[in-house]
Amino acid sequence: MSRAGRVAAETRAAWYAFVRRRTAVFFTFFFPVIIILIFGALVRTDPTGGGLFTEPPGYYVAGYLAVVVLFTPLSRVGSEVARHRDGNRFEKLATTPLSRAEWLLAQMLVNVAVVGLAAVLVFGLVVAVTGAGVAASPLVVPYLVAGVALFCGLGAVLGRVADSQDGVIAAANGVALPLLFLSRTFVPPELLPAWFRPVVALSPLTYFARGLRAATFRPPGTLATYRTGDALVGTDPTLNLAVLAALAVGFFAAGALAVPTTN
């Protein structure tokens, strides 16, 4: 079997293993839905007033997508590493031609499919619930792929470091929550202390949210998408994508190395 054949076999098995866990499937899609319903329909944005949600609804689409790109691969791959280790599956895989990078690539492909479906759901729901102005951009696809690759790699590292499935979930939450709120997703940088704002640039999710927002958010009353010239790479969607892609390669490589070859 060729490399493609091995990855296809692993992807197929990982896909079936995921979609047959009804609870996991339900909550994978329920999570972004409930976030949108809470933030978009209950709390609502208030562009004219103060508070947390001061931007138009379309501003937060990148944040909603960041939720699925961050949490789904991080927790799924981390848990999968722990599950494989508990079941001595890595020991068996080590005696097959499947490499660690191929294993992680297969997990990534499953997550790309899951996150892609969740993204369609997010876009549809945001438009339906909040009437957000969203521009269709072909850059959404590479952003989602790069984001998933990056957090699959990080998930594999967490799975390697944590000694149990419970540990993976705790570690994933501990990493994901600060990233989620300090990466230009839901909290505009102006609301953060000036001394803290440079730290935001250290989060890989910042490049995802900032670039994707620039590619998809159309502020009310304008035809152009959202662009400003702040920070190192500004809000140019291509430059942010380039940084995100470079980070994704690094995190994926680190993740592939972190995938255990033994138990």
Partner: protein, 307 residues
């Protein structure tokens, strides 16, 4: 030579999991590693398959394990638990799909006796059926070297016999098989050679017949009596060799001498409650060399594993 290991050592902290183990396994051989829990069997399996680092030399097909193609090896790890929402058929096909060439999935399922339950999710199978699926995933690439870590643990006697048949069939076709087991009947039936591990050391190595000859001891009559002291004195006076045992009286005699032993005890006024005559088997070798203290009367009881 398929496997060559020399002075293999592995420590976990202060504990020596493997302490200078040397062995070799030839092509087409069924080699059984036996030993109590914690003896180092799984660590040795991991050393042989290159999934743990050890000191010393390990070679598969003349190369370090890390340089050997996964196409040539089939492994069933101990306590292996594959994805539980995949069916038996999907699991065998999945592991087959990781190799350049694999056997027909249905044929593998037939070999391990799972044709009827091929489309049942792994989590819904019985313990024995699960283990048979796991064995199937190790066979699917038709490996030159098949390594099975406790393949029949949890498998019922009928299922165990089916798996033994599968392993024997593979060995007849030239597959080299290394397996670990607690079941000495399994070793006796399958093994061309047996290695007995205890405390990380290989304490015996040879064919079952050689081990029995060297370490099995004499045929024995185990006698349960109401007065062991009086019985011992009577038998020794009559010239019988009473074997040392703290809990039962064991006499080194052949079956033809049983009536005379009974008569000697009756003449001494000792009541025999139960008599069991048995030849030594690999279990005696195991118990003697592994230093396990077991009631010989219990050993003489028919066990499921001896079916």
């Amino acid at each position: 030579m398929v496997i060559r290991a020399e002075r293999v050592r592995r420590r976990y902290g202060e504990t020596a999991a493997l302490d200078g183990v040397s062995l070799s396994v030839g092509t087409g051989t069924v080699f059984v590693l036996a030993g109590p829990n914690g003896a180092g069997k799984t660590t040795l399996i991991r050393a042989l398959t290159g999934t743990t680092r050890v000191d010393g030399t390990v070679e598969l097909f003349g190369k370090p394990p890390s340089e050997v193609s996964g196409e040539r090896i089939g492994l069933l790890p101990q306590e292996f638990a594959p994805a539980d929402r995949l069916t038996a058929r999907e699991l065998v096909a999945y592991y087959g799909g990781l190799h350049e060439e694999s056997r027909d999935t249905d044929t593998v399922l037939e070999d391990v006796g799972l044709t009827e339950t091929a489309d049942t999710h792994y989590e819904d199978l019985s313990g024995g059926q699960k283990r048979r699926v796991c064995v199937g995933t190790a066979l699917v690439n038709d490996p030159e070297l098949l390594v099975l870590d406790e393949p029949t643990t949890g498998v019922d006697p009928a299922g165990r016999h089916e798996l033994w048949g599968v392993i024997e069939g593979l060995a007849e076709r030239g597959t080299t098989v290394v397996l670990t087991t607690h079941y000495m009947a399994e070793a006796e039936r399958l093994a061309d050679r047996v290695g007995l591990l205890a405390d990380g050391r290989l304490v015996a190595l040879g064919s079952p017949a050689e081990l029995l000859e060297r370490h099995g001891g004499a045929d024995r009559l185990v006698v349960a009596v109401d007065d062991q002291g009086a019985a011992t004195r009577a038998l020794e006076r009559a010239g019988y060799h009473v074997l040392p045992d703290e809990r039962h009286l064991a006499v080194g005699v052949g079956p033809e001498e049983i009536p005379a032993v009974v008569e000697t005890l009756a003449d001494a006024g000792v009541d025999c409650e139960r008599l069991t005559w048995r030849q030594p088997d690999l279990e005696d070798v195991y118990l003697a060399l592994a230093g396990v203290d077991v009631d010989p009367q219990e050993l003489s009881e028919p066990e499921a594993v001896r079916a």
